[in-house]
Symmetry: C2
Subunit: 495 residues, 2 copies
């Protein structure tokens, strides 16, 4: 590995030393022609150029969240290059939003085809004036990977808009069900104009503590991951259930975890009943297959099957938010496909790796009139075009199986590190490459992320003290081994 | 004008007849090399190919709002071409979202430059890992046209997210002002996680009846344009003031209109006081410079200056929603620049013609910590790149003055048509090309739009019975005359 570096010499040397590596196995390298062959660090990160640019940006907006500035032209495959020339193995992939790596040759080719130019520069109002190939591209892309039983799809510009519009779709469905006919009263039409019932009914979405579903006001009422997301923003009195807090290793806590899940499910039912008593109707339940921002909290497939049953029993819609889990990283295209539901989810939202936001839904959730689920853009056909290409690559290169395989290499390695460094790593968990572990505390977590970055690995945090892995779908076994080698050294030398 | 048409022969003939045209003046034609020279109709619209595609799309989503399918590759300048080969003069421009016409040569060139490829295929998480040229592109684009006094800018993916995040920015500002310090209590941090005060305070945005600010739950609580947008969606008890309903012609109703505006302003103050009494604090006021979706409702510059004063007097933020009015169509870059405010607006939101959503704000509204106004994408640098080019074109081609000039031609012509067809056209109004008129009723309005479309002109409706003009910024005098000639014939023959 190259190490043309300005970081302190001792660190640089340690970086080169092979002694304490966790694997004897040589990291098998599959050649992906556009990928780099390893990190290459020239400065600390953020480097001087990044710092200079951060200062400039901070003049026009709060730029304190910026990690560093990037050179996307030079970024390729699993490697993110920054403006100081540092090249890092990216296991965070823009908060889990890069599906097939940076500068993928298929996407470059797509952009170079003259017939695609128009799609990028003439953005239509999709709901009224779609392009000729709109349906065809949706079929090639989103519908070709639609969860079973969900025949309808609507595109949106981002994850928050996807959830907001999914809520609306659920509220309309619920109200129509309650009405039993399509005749809207004059009172409803008039009262809705001034935000009052019966036109604006007192409906709610039930969400889980620790969940994250976006930051617009409707979404934010179902988000309960960090206080900083919610502080000072008015909200809605919607029910919030506890999400199971599983103990690890799972095999040692089978009974406790079952009890914990049963407790949470019981609370869900109690809340639905309790809120109905105070005339606030739970029209739907929203849940992530793995609570991501909230700390990579998993629950068993059985928990979700039972939750789905509770939703059905109480006439609530079951909305699965796959914004972060969707797109293949868990080894199935949608994480909730692991559950083996008899009755599919009613609505499934997506964004991030799907390049466009949007949601799938069952036919019975179809809006009963035009313009009810609508906005000017309703997504962006240039994103659909790219997504169709991305899905072609996922299929051709068998990237779901790759996620399973590379995920296994990553998880096995993390479990080994946990065995060796139990004071630093605990609760190792994951599905596909969607892995994570806990550190003792926030400060240690952040220090580990910073050290890893300076060694050429970009990691992300979540929850209070977890580190999450969100590599691209072209993250292979050899990338896992490369990371594990570097991280093993970091842990060995961690003070 | 070509008329290779399948529409009934009588109509086709009438279309050719020059006799009843409203102007003697020959429509002066400025050559815009990529623009077409007039409509060209081959079928009724929607034609057979559009109908076939609508049926297909309707299988996967409610497609009843679709007007027709488009061939964007063939669309150029002010002309939208459909999949049946019909070429129409577009005065609606994708619900006012196409700034410099279809397939503008500058944008094609931009897309063809290899150095820009990366920006389109590597979409970053802008808040944490911006590209090297991020600040520079913001300065070239958004900041080069920032409303006076608003030094800060944040980008978002769409108009709704822009308003939602503007609300949040205002709520945080208000709460910090109320606190008087930066120390957040444990009670606030805990209560906000469960959607309760004091962490989630009972703050409100005051909006106006007839306003439209988007369709996500927070935005929707301030939207009061049509019942179909709001029906069945739970909402917030936020105050709604009446918006002036001016009488036309303005010069004949000076006193009545002044009284009407005074009444509305008084109601604004009363509502702020009334809501404070019930412990619901109006943290901000949101208003459109011209209520667009709600029916192109104008108020005087004086009204807005006084409204701004009321906001300041009561300590409320003043948020101007320029999603539809911004970008130059009124003859100034921002419609609210016509008002001549002493104290600038506090927050100004945009989207549509700006290609990216987002908002400008005063420095005192800057979030006091990172991640408070945040989401994965925070807009899209590929849109910033295109916007920088669009703004260059607007400046080079003096398109603001063009909007004033072409708008005058359009408005003068509409006033003339109103004088000749008072039973069909009333309340002609406009600023720049942002013009509109009323028809006697919904049915007549829709019929006029359909006839115009079959004659090669795309128009849009708004409110109950208005027709609105939302051409691109490269809409010239000769396009106005072309439209007026066609529409004059339509009115002459309207039954």
């Amino acid at each position: 590995m190259n190490s043309d570096t300005h970081i302190p010499e001792a660190d640089a040397l340690r970086f080169e030393v092979q002694g304490h590596r966790y694997i004897s196995q040589a990291a098998a390298k599959i050649d992906v022609d556009f990928d780099y062959d390893g990190p290459l660090m020239k400065t600390e990160v953020p480097g001087p150029r990044s710092r200079e640019l951060m200062k400039k940006l901070n003049g026009i907006q709060n730029a304190e969240a910026v990690h560093f500035f990037c050179n996307y032209e030079e970024s390729r495959g699993n490697y993110l290059v920054d403006v100081d020339g540092n090249r890092m193995l990216d296991l965070y992939s823009q908060i889990s939003s890069i599906p097939i790596g940076y500068s993928h040759p298929s996407l470059i080719k797509l952009l170079q085809q003259p017939q695609n130019l128009s799609t990028f520069i003439n953005r239509p109002a999709l709901g009224i004036l779609p392009p000729e190939n709109f349906t065809e591209k949706l079929k090639e892309s989103l519908l070709s990977v639609a969860p079973k039983g969900l025949s309808q799809v609507i595109t949106m510009s981002c994850g928050s808009c996807s959830n907001e519009n999914a809520f609306k779709t659920i509220f309309m469905w619920y109200r129509n069900k309650e009405r039993g006919h399509n005749n809207v009263t004059k009172e409803e039409l008039e009262s809705c104009m001034i935000n009052q019932p019966p036109g604006c009914p007192d409906y709610a979405m039930l969400s889980f503590m620790g969940g994250f579903h976006g930051r617009t006001l409707g979404c934010l009422a179902t988000t309960h991951s960090k206080a900083i997301h919610k502080l000072d923003i008015p909200s809605l009195d919607w029910p919030i259930a506890p999400f199971p807090r599983l103990k690890y290793p799972l095999e040692d806590f089978v009974k406790e975890n079952q009890q914990e899940e049963a407790r949470c499910l019981e609370e869900v039912e109690d809340l639905i009943v309790k809120y109905r008593k105070k005339k606030k109707i739970v029209a739907g339940i929203i849940v992530e297959p793995i609570q991501s921002e909230g700390g990579d909290n998993h629950a068993s497939d059985d928990f979700f099957r039972k939750l789905r049953d509770i939703a059905r029993k109480h006439g609530c819609a079951f909305l699965v938010d796959e914004v972060q889990t969707g797109g293949g990283c868990t080894g199935k295209f949608w994480a909730h496909e692991h559950w083996g539901l008899d009755d599919p989810a009613d609505v499934v939202t997506f964004s991030k790796k799907m390049m466009t936001g949007g949601f799938f839904h069952k036919e019975e959730f179809r809006p009963n009139a035009p313009y009810r689920i609508f906005n000017t853009w309703l997504g962006d056909p240039s994103k659909n075009l790219m997504l169709a290409e991305v899905i072609k690559v996922i299929k051709t290169e068998d990237l779901l199986n790759n996620a399973t395989h590379a995920g296994k290499a990553l998880l096995t390695g993390l479990l080994d590190l946990q065995a060796r460094y139990p004071h630093l790593i605990s609760r190792v968990r994951g599905r596909g490459t969607f892995c994570s572990f806990d550190t003792p505390n926030d400060a240690t977590r952040n220090k580990l992320i910073t050290i890893a970055r300076n060694k050429g690995v970009v990691l992300g945090g979540c929850g209070d003290r977890s580190i999450r892995f969100r590599p691209t779908l072209i993250f292979k076994d050899h990338h896992a081994h490369l990371f594990l080698n570097i991280f093993s050294d970091i842990l060995a030398n961690f003070k």
